[in-house]
Amino acid sequence: MIIQKQSDIIPSEITPKEVFENKRAFLQKAGFGLLAGSATLLSHSLHAATLNITNLENATKPARAPSLIKANALGSRQKILNFTKTTYGADEKLTSYDDITTYNNYYEFGTDKSEPAIHSKLFKPHPWTISVEGEVKKNKTINLDDLIKLMPLEERIYRMRCVEGWSMVIPWVGFPLAQLVKWAEPTGNAKYIELISLVDKQQMPGANLPILDWPYTEGLRMDEAMNPLTLMAVGLYGEHLPNQNGAPIRLVVPWKYGFKGAKAIVKIRFTEKMPLTSWMKAGPNEYGFYANVNPQVEHPRWTQSSEKRIGAGLFAGRIKTQMFNGYAEQVGQMYAGMDLRKNF
């Protein structure tokens, strides 16, 4: 765990970490750009570099852009004051904060895994409201701060396995989705739950490209949603979620591939029919509704029988991927009798 020492430097005197890192990322990309020969090939990285300069300038001139002060303040690391520790994953070696927050699949902020950390800096996760609709007694909308007051927060260390064959161990802070479902009061017709992310083309540069069918949509069967492991995360490493990790609130389903974890959730819809998720639309033979981690079911692009643990180093090799990502005991019975090759 990170132990932060109290410091007598006031926060405004410190160069914000993101500004510093931005500069480094920019220098790296610029250096890389010098090497490339063709203007066509370059346009992409030059575009990224230009964006970085803009961010850098904005971030260092808060006086001229008052709205950014707040964004920066929120973008800086804030501790979550009240949460209880749990024994989940207590024996796991945590992936570093830096790795968790600089290697993200979050296409609304760019398709390269380094992009979300850069392009989400000005994203405003506060104030935030979540609406509940569909097969519920009554449609509801709630402010996230009010919702969190109703839900006691806890820390849980979960493994996360990406469909691309890498994995991390992340100390999330959140509450079980089951509690939110109870609060939402679904009707007896509700068989599935659909979680819908924000799509804001102003704040999310990647959402301007037709790469996925926005808004990003994910779904769970009701029993999966009610499983005690299923978490709505609002933080990691004891701090509010960084923007690139899905601030202010995201789904975490540790026995499924990472893409099930919808980020920046604004809407929850209860349905009778199985919802069609963004990735199911994008590649129906590659990404199924269940997307359970399963070393026996191959993916056309990536090996699923083993994985690379992020942060383990160049020579660490691969580790065996476990059925349901090692959570078979807690979730296996939900899939008893199902053909998991068909329901991948």
Binding site: G31, L35, L41, G283, W302, T303, S305, K308, G311, G317
Partner: protein, 202 residues
């Protein structure tokens, strides 16, 4: 650009140009070593090295394939003298790319590697592309050109197959955002198209 290429460098200038290109081709390797020492190869260094070496192999391959279109457009031939050097640099980065895959990614576990190749079309085409570069690298010396005589040229026309496989390999890696592989495919179509157009004209 075209007028610049129309100037014919003398022998001394040509060797300087060659030295410069040689040096430029070293930079991606230096960069990886430098970033490695700085521990700055991102959260997933193996993937980063794989992507980087793959990118440079493909880029240098496209550069190699652009020398003939330059000849057709400018009627100058001096640049063709860099073909072998660029081809070998392509082979070098492709070799590193495959080595990192076999060693760092899969730890020379041949069972897992053969499964990975057999089950994933993108790996299969990439591996096929690399295997095809091996005879080209072996037969790149002057002695081999002399020995193979008229068989040398058809053998080295394999480079077109290699280029197509390499672009497909990259295309199939990408989950959804195909802009980057699409731009390489576009460049390859142009480079091969100029050749076909020239052939058709004759």
């Amino acid at each position: 650009m075209l007028t610049l290429l129309k100037k014919i460098p003398n022998k001394a200038q040509l060797s300087k140009i060659k030295a410069l290109v040689f040096f430029l081709c070293f930079i991606p390797l230096f960069r990886l070593i430098f970033l490695g020492i700085q521990e700055d190869l991102t959260a997933n260094p193996i993937e980063f090295i794989e992507r980087s070496t793959g990118f440079w192999a493909l880029l240098i391959l496209l550069a190699t394939l652009s020398l003939t279109p330059i000849r057709l457009l400018t009627r100058r031939v001096w640049q063709l003298q860099m073909r072998r050097m660029l081809g070998l640099w392509m082979f070098f980065y492709a070799g590193l790319h495959v080595l990192v895959y076999l060693w760092l990614d899969f730890g020379f576990s041949w069972l897992d590697i053969s499964k990975d190749i057999a089950k994933h079309p993108r790996i299969l085409v990439g591996f096929a592309a690399f295997v095809l570069t091996i005879p080209l690298a072996i037969t790149s010396s002057n002695a081999m050109v002399k020995r193979l005589r008229e068989r040398w040229k058809p053998l080295h026309q394999l480079v077109y197959v290699i280029a197509i496989l390499a672009v497909v390999h990259f295309w199939w890696l990408v989950k959804k955002d195909i802009r980057e592989p699409l731009s390489y495919a576009f460049i390859l179509v142009i480079l091969l198209g100029i050749r076909l157009y020239d052939k058709a004209k004759k």
